[in-house]
């Protein structure tokens, strides 16, 4: 089985994703977007970076590139898909997940470690954790503020599709612990099916034991915990 890590022009966490997945024994390869999705992929990762230089809006141009038609079809067929950071922006822009990620409340780029509270531990991406667990994962984004209509937000919560919320070290979801002004401190969500997930924090940066901790491993292992 192979995970396709889609490389758009301007992606810059594609190599990191492959390296982190390899560390977990998960076979992955970078796929140049113009080459199309290989047959027989067992998962798809949309990595972080600045696809198309974030021109227009973060993720907007990549979301409309031809490979995304194949990606959406595969995701609809149940192929697991994880969008991280710019990949999360692409996921939202392409309609795979609800809401948008837009300019941070600070209006600045922020690279720092944050705490996340696991909201739903019954999904492939969170099965390694317990509900209420607090994990430490880095963020690195200028456009990570999650915005969504009230109606859709209520639906997300009702359907238990919020994966993570920003919190403090003790797990309290507070304004102070919200790094970018995201609605409801939301850091990551599921799409219409539980096999599709997007999040702004970088699990691949919290996977290798020699840098940045290992709290993100459970998220990447989601690729292997789907039947």
């Amino acid at each position: 089985m192979t995970i396709a890590v889609i490389q758009f022009g301007g992606s810059n966490c594609d190599r990191d994703a492959v390296r982190a997945l390899a560390h977990l024994g998960i076979d992955a390869e970078r796929v140049w977007h113009e080459d199309g999705l290989p047959e027989e992929v067992s998962g798809i990762m949309l990595p972080g970076g600045f696809s198309y230089g974030d021109y227009l809006r973060a993720g907007a141009m990549a979301a409309r590139s031809p490979i995304m038609n194949e990606v959406r079809e595969a995701a609809d067929d149940g192929v697991p898909l994880l969008g991280v950071c710019n990949g999360a922006q692409v996921g939202c822009e392409s309609g795979l997940t609800d809401g948008v990620f837009t300019t941070n409340e600070s209006a600045r780029f922020q690279c720092e470690h944050v705490f996340l509270r696991v909201e739903n531990a019954e999904t492939p991406w969170t099965r390694a954790y317990d509900e209420g667990d607090v994990i430490e994962i880095p963020i690195a984004h200028g456009e990570g503020r999650f915005e969504i209509t009230d109606e859709k937000y209520d639906a997300l919560v009702d359907d238990d599709r919020v994966l993570f919320r920003y919190c403090d070290a003790e797990g309290n979801v507070t304004d102070d612990a919200n790094p970018n002004g995201s609605t409801g401190n939301v850091a990551g969500i599921l799409g219409a099916r539980e096999t599709v997930a997007v999040l702004m924090p970088h699990p691949e940066r919290a996977t290798l034991p020699d840098v940045g901790g290992t709290d993100g491993q459970g998220i990447l292992r989601g690729f292997t915990s789907i039947e």
């Binding site: 022009g9 810059n12 140049w32 230089g53 600045r108 922020q110 690195a140 970088h202």
Partner: protein
């Protein structure tokens, strides 16, 4: 600015005719101070640039150094370079700083390397001035925008505020790349008949005459008048260029390469062929252009960003074009490497026809007068200890730079095991099992007080930063910034920093493998302080390092010799008065070696070097919510002395530290760490007590003022 008459005569004698307008401009730019180092080259022989590890020293786009292998047997090379983008950053801070990053990254690409780390050393006028803040915010945002987008982590650096930079800030950017012996490429053309291929952005009328703009004082109206000389960068294209370069190098298609920087295509192509002992035949009409009706001169000299010049075998040209096409990059085959002259044609006419080595290396050197400054004498102020402590710890220069590095992606690449905010960053080179430590900075207070001793101190401080994290210095690159060298006092100061850096690096057996010189950092506000930014790399086994924060459990030792003086200190900058520059340790090499060993001992709980602001700042920085210290010092000189080569070590085994430093440097017990999160200082008969929150309040001045 135009070509000096003496240069013009020299060129006319060599060519046997008047130079064409295009030739005149080409010479003006390539023979400028910025490109030809006319005033500095006579001094630069002071540097030692060789060691067993150095593969390629100064003179190429970047230096190449072999990394000691701690694991495995695959030889690993790093590239290392540094560049200034000072004048552009004054005129247009965002674009000026951004394109500074772009330039040094392309210097990495042209060696066949992948960029893995950046360090920025920035210098601005007083933080209280609105204009300084405007420049500071713009420069940081420009670096953040460009560096983050291209996916190269900014892991280290420095920010200093000093009144000497009011009219002329400094932006010095260093880049480390990673390569292997079989991927290594140089900027030396290989054979006549090979094709010259230009890959990247289309050429427009931006950055015209940037090299000569960088080689004169900043005029009062520079912000409006010189804007056309500043390039505008596109990091998205740079990222595509990084990927294309990887593919080209992977497939072995690049015979030699040079990035297009100062003096544009004319600079890059002529230097590339001249270095190989060749000429070139270039058809300027074939350059892919962004604007209509460009003249030969504009095509030759525009400093449009994100462009590379490659030497490619004729049979590989098509494949290179395919790779450029994959990444939506422009590509034009502009001519051939040739025997004979460097020749450019345009619209059927020969517009340049000059001997390449004359163009590249023929600039006459300046013989300038140098006057050394008088050393300062002791005239210490009567200052209140509490006020002085708060002024020094709360000074923007010594304060927390979190506001800066939070805007830089410092973790992309998943190699950053120690990030910014510590003495040195550590990058995991898993290829060699090596932790690569990186430190960058200078101290304008030191080099203002005493250029020579101050520069020696800068070199020792960078080495101490590495050693405090357990690394042994491997190589350094320097960015030598000065004012108008035609002023004897400025040139004297500049000579002082060159000799000082060179001498200390030699003492430390650390080769200076490359660098950059930026003169004419002078404006109506006067010359900048002589500023010798040094970026140094070191290596160690593994990627771990002791933290800079107290654990709360150990004894506190100060290792290293205090110089017993306050000249060039932040304390005097805040309180007034003068003093001689502190005496530097007698055996810095032994000290650095002993320190690197002690840092990695399992009984070592924390290490932090003493520099800007002295022990006052070092100790304050080590305090956390849960760990503090009780420290006793003799007097305020001991508290604020900035002598480098000293480190606070928190250890459970003081005896082992004393043994390691036996015969090398003194070890003084200054107190003990505590678990109350409070710094309690007893200085002569006075007491200072600060908890973590009040220290944070002092240290967060930049964030508080700018948010």
């Amino acid at each position: 600015m135009s070509l000096p008459d003496t240069d013009y005569d020299l060129i006319r004698d060599e060519l046997g005719r008047d130079p064409t307008p295009a030739e005149g401009e080409l010479f003006e730019n390539l023979w400028s101070e910025h490109c030809a180092y006319r005033s500095s080259r006579p001094l630069l022989s002071a540097f030692d640039s060789e060691s067993d590890d150095v593969v390629i020293g100064p003179g190429d786009d970047a230096a190449v150094v072999a990394v000691p292998l701690y694991e495995g047997d695959d030889e690993t090379y790093i590239t290392f370079g540094i560049e200034s983008h000072n004048h552009p950053s004054y005129v247009d801070p965002f674009d000026g700083a951004a394109t500074g990053v772009g330039g040094i990254v392309r210097d990495t690409l042209s060696m066949g390397a992948y960029p893995i780390a950046l360090a920025d050393s920035l210098y601005f006028g007083d933080f209280d001035r609105e204009h300084s803040r405007y420049l500071f915010e713009g420069v940081v945002e420009g670096i953040s925008h460009y560096g983050n987008c291209i996916g190269v982590p900014t892991v280290a650096g420095s920010v200093d505020f000093h009144e000497g930079y009011v009219g002329n800030p400094l932006v010095n950017v260093a880049c480390v790349g990673l390569t292997t012996p079989d991927r290594l490429v140089t900027a030396e053309a290989q054979a006549a008949g090979n094709k010259l291929v230009l890959v990247g952005n289309a050429t427009g009328r931006d950055g015209l005459g940037g090299a000569s703009f960088a080689s004169e004082d900043l005029a009062e109206d520079a912000e409006t008048e010189d804007r056309p000389a500043v390039q505008v960068g596109d990091p998205y294209t740079e990222k595509l260029l990084i990927e294309a370069n990887e593919d080209l190098v992977d497939e072995g298609l690049v015979l030699s390469a040079r990035d297009l920087g100062a003096a544009g295509l004319g600079g890059a192509s002529s230097e590339l062929v001249a270095k190989g002992g060749f000429g070139a035949e270039i058809d300027l009409d074939r350059v892919h252009q962004r604007e209509p009706n460009m003249s030969a001169l504009e095509i030759l000299l525009a400093e449009s960003q994100e462009r590379m010049c490659y030497e490619v075998a004729p049979e590989d040209v098509e494949r290179v074009a395919d790779i450029a096409e994959k990444y939506d990059l422009g590509c034009s085959v502009i001519g051939d490497v040739a025997d004979g002259n460097y020749v450019c044609t345009f619209d059927g006419d020969v517009v340049v026809d000059v001997p390449p080595e004359f163009l590249a290396d023929g600039a006459p050197m300046n013989d300038l007068d140098a006057v050394a400054s008088e050393p300062q004498e002791r005239d210490l102020p009567e200052a209140d200890l509490t006020e002085a402590f708060e002024a020094v710890v709360g000074s923007p220069t010594t304060a927390s730079k979190r506001w800066v590095y939070r805007q830089y992606d410092h973790e992309v690449g998943i190699r950053t095991s120690v990030g910014p905010g510590d003495d040195a960053a550590i990058i995991a080179l898993r290829e060699a099992g090596a932790g690569l430590a990186l430190s960058s900075g200078a101290n304008p207070n030191w080099t203002s007080a005493n250029p020579y001793e101050g520069a020696r101190a800068v070199a020792l401080e960078n080495a101490t930063n590495l050693a405090a994290k357990g690394a042994t210095p491997l190589a350094a690159v320097d960015c030598l910034n000065g004012g108008n060298p035609e002023k004897p006092a400025v040139y004297g100061g500049f000579k002082g920093i060159v000799d000082g850096l060179a001498d200390m690096c030699r003492t430390l057996s650390t080769p200076v493998v490359g660098g950059n010189v930026s003169l004419y950092n002078d404006s109506v506000s006067g010359p900048i302080p002589p500023t010798p930014t040094l970026a140094m790399v070191g290596s160690k086994a593994g990627y771990d390092a002791p933290p800079a924060a107290f654990s709360g459990e150990g004894t506190l030792l100060l290792v290293g010799e205090a110089g017993g003086a306050l000249g060039g200190s932040e304390y005097l900058a805040k309180t007034g008065g003068t003093d001689r520059f502190p005496t530097l340790p007698a055996n810095p090499a032994g000290l650095v070696a002993a320190l690197a060993a002690v840092a990695d001992d399992e009984s070592t709980l924390a290490t932090h070097d003493v520099s800007h602001g002295g022990l006052a700042v070092s100790l304050a920085e080590m305090v956390t919510e849960t760990a503090g210290a009780d420290v006793e010092l003799a007097d305020e000189i001991a508290l604020f002395d900035e002598t480098p080569g000293r480190v606070v070590v928190e250890t459970t085994n003081p005896e082992a530290v004393r043994e390691a430093f036996d015969g090398v440097a003194p070890v003084t017990e200054i107190g003990a760490a505590t678990t109350d999160g409070t710094l309690s200082l007893s200085v002569s008969d006075e007491e200072l007590v600060y908890d973590a929150a009040s220290i944070a309040e002092l240290r967060d001045v930049i964030e508080r003022e700018l948010e």
